[in-house]
């Protein structure tokens, strides 16, 4: 537990000084995406890694956040900070309402239902042309402002996004070591036993689903206001699968793992740019191989490697971060 917070402190420091090492431009831009993906992966991890409930439609909450915030600020001229809040609240309410029927389902059925929801939302993004601009997207979305400071450059965006990402990580770490975090993990291991212990599994699953959706919506809003342009293609089924991939590769239930997964999946397409199109094959292989041979993900792999390298102290059993 203490180790998690120390690690977080170290991590936050690295994140805050990292830009000094880059000249800015391209790499910084990749790191902005990495921050958004980290937020999304941590959000999904709360649901998938903690509560053990899969969602194959999380890109839709990301998209709803982006579109709500984008449309309200661009078409209707609201302040972007306000639209971010509105988007978060609206998506939260939607997810809460949707959560009750959808989280009654388990395993494969839950996967399919969330997938179905995601596709419906994606179709709506494409078809409501008057509102969203349809397949050709919505452009001219205003940047966020703070007094006289406008978040329009790569460096400013970097700090903006990573502040949000770090706060998200910290909240998730807090949650992990709390009454609610334990109840969620209990549901994951044995829903029946958790209910017998008095955990209202149904309600808690819905709450964490909503929380996860809210964080995703905030990430969506940030994405819209930093990119200034959004189109449905960013919020489809493929991206939902990418998010699940980040969480699995990073390690279920590990917050730093989610960062690793997000980092890998942000960098991979950049590395594979030369051999474009190979990335989808690599994702597929990664998913299969990781699930088969490294079910605890990169975080789990690193932890067990560290344990092997360090001469074992007797009687100490590491709690996984």
């Amino acid at each position: 537990m203490k180790r998690d917070y120390l690690l977080f402190l170290l991590f936050a420091t690295v994140v805050l000084v990292a830009p000094a090492a880059f000249k800015g431009g391209y790499l910084l831009n990749v790191l902005v995406f990495m921050g958004i993906n980290t937020m999304l992966a941590v959000a999904l991890n709360l649901l998938l890694g903690f509560a053990g409930q899969i969602s194959l439609g999380h890109a839709s909450f990301f998209g709803l956040g982006a579109y709500l915030s984008g449309i309200l600020s661009t078409t209707y001229g609201f302040n972007p900070w306000l639209t971010m809040v509105i988007a978060a609240v609206a998506v939260g309410i939607l997810a809460f309402g949707l959560g009750f029927p959808i989280l009654k389902l388990k395993g494969h059925y839950l996967a399919m239902a969330t997938l179905g929801f995601g596709i419906i939302v994606y179709i709506v993004f494409n078809e409501t042309v008057a509102l969203t601009g349809g397949p050709s997207g919505l452009s001219g979305i205003p940047n966020l402002k703070m007094g006289s400071l406008t978040f329009d450059g790569d460096l400013k965006n970097y700090y903006l996004i990573w502040c949000f990402a770090l706060v998200t990580m910290l909240l998730a770490i807090n949650l992990a070591h709390s009454r609610i975090g334990r109840a969620l993990r209990a549901i994951h291991d044995s829903e029946v036993a958790s209910r017998v212990m008095g955990v209202n599994a149904r309600l808690l699953k819905v709450q964490v689903f909503a929380l996860s959706a809210i964080i995703s919506a905030v990430a969506g809003s940030l994405y819209a206001h930093t990119m200034s342009f959004i189109s449905p293609a960013s919020f489809g089924f493929n991206f939902s699968v990418e998010l699940v991939t980040m969480v699995i590769i990073g390690g279920l239930g590990s917050i730093f793992g989610s960062f690793l997964g997000a980092a890998l999946l942000t960098i991979l397409p950049e590395l594979l740019r030369v051999v474009q199109d190979y990335d989808i094959v690599v994702y597929g292989l990664l998913l299969i191989v990781m699930t088969m041979y490294m079910p605890k993900g990169l975080a789990g792999g690193i932890a067990s490697l560290a344990r092997r390298l360090r001469p074992a102290k007797k009687g100490v059993v590491d709690a996984q971060g």
Partner: protein, 294 residues
Amino acid sequence: MDLLQQLTQYAFSGLSTGAIYALIGLGFAIIYNATGIINFAQGEFVMLGGVLTHFFLIVLKLPAGVAMGGAVIATTVIGALFERLTIRPLKRPTPLSLVIITIGGSIFIRGVAMLVWGKDTQSLPPFSGEEPITLAGATVMPQHLWIFGITLLVIAANKFFFYYTIRGKAMRACSFNRTAASLVGIDVRKMVLLSFVISSAMGAMAGIIIAPLTMTAYDVGVMLGLKGFCAAIIGGMSSGFGTVLGGLLLGLLESLGAGLISSGYKDAIAFIILLLILFIRPQGLFSKAQTERV
């Protein structure tokens, strides 16, 4: 054209697409019943059927029969390999890991298909000309009739296999109770493999017979697979009549919805139905609920 004629038209095209959904849905149900797995890669078998036929027929210029047969066989081999290489070695399969693995498999197969055959949409010639036939006041493409005919044949063969052959009966036993089946000497792992073989063959056939109508490409499997899953859900995951009805119903509603309401939302219809069924009657339209074991 008057309304009645138009409706008949929609009904015909809806039922023929529905027949395809039924075939794909049966593939889902067969694997699910034998193994408890929802195979997210099912749609890719459908894609492979179409794309491989195109490759054999148009690129390699093989005769039609050989091309189609070859496509079914190749897809079946891929399905069997998929089970052997990814599902069977799994030490502690959980619903979550199975979802992830089959999704991974589907992405991988789709990716490889894209690398090998490119991103272009390809068309296949219909089996017997494009001369429309007039039937009950509506014009029908001969391909529609092919679809009905072949679907019926496959379903009949399926029924025969499950009810009148030893292997089929053994597979049904597995679907009732895997432990008990293995106790009476049924090789459950062989049955799992067999279920993948049958499902991938059926998927490939579905992909072949629909390709002349809708064209084919590396990414058609996603939607077709999901719709087939809807059909199976409506039918309560039965590997028989329920899923066939589910597929036909879905095809019909889609076609009517697209024709009468809006074609842009056509794909949404299936998923709205999917959500409604899962929320209200997760056991399917035609069966009764069971108490889940604790």
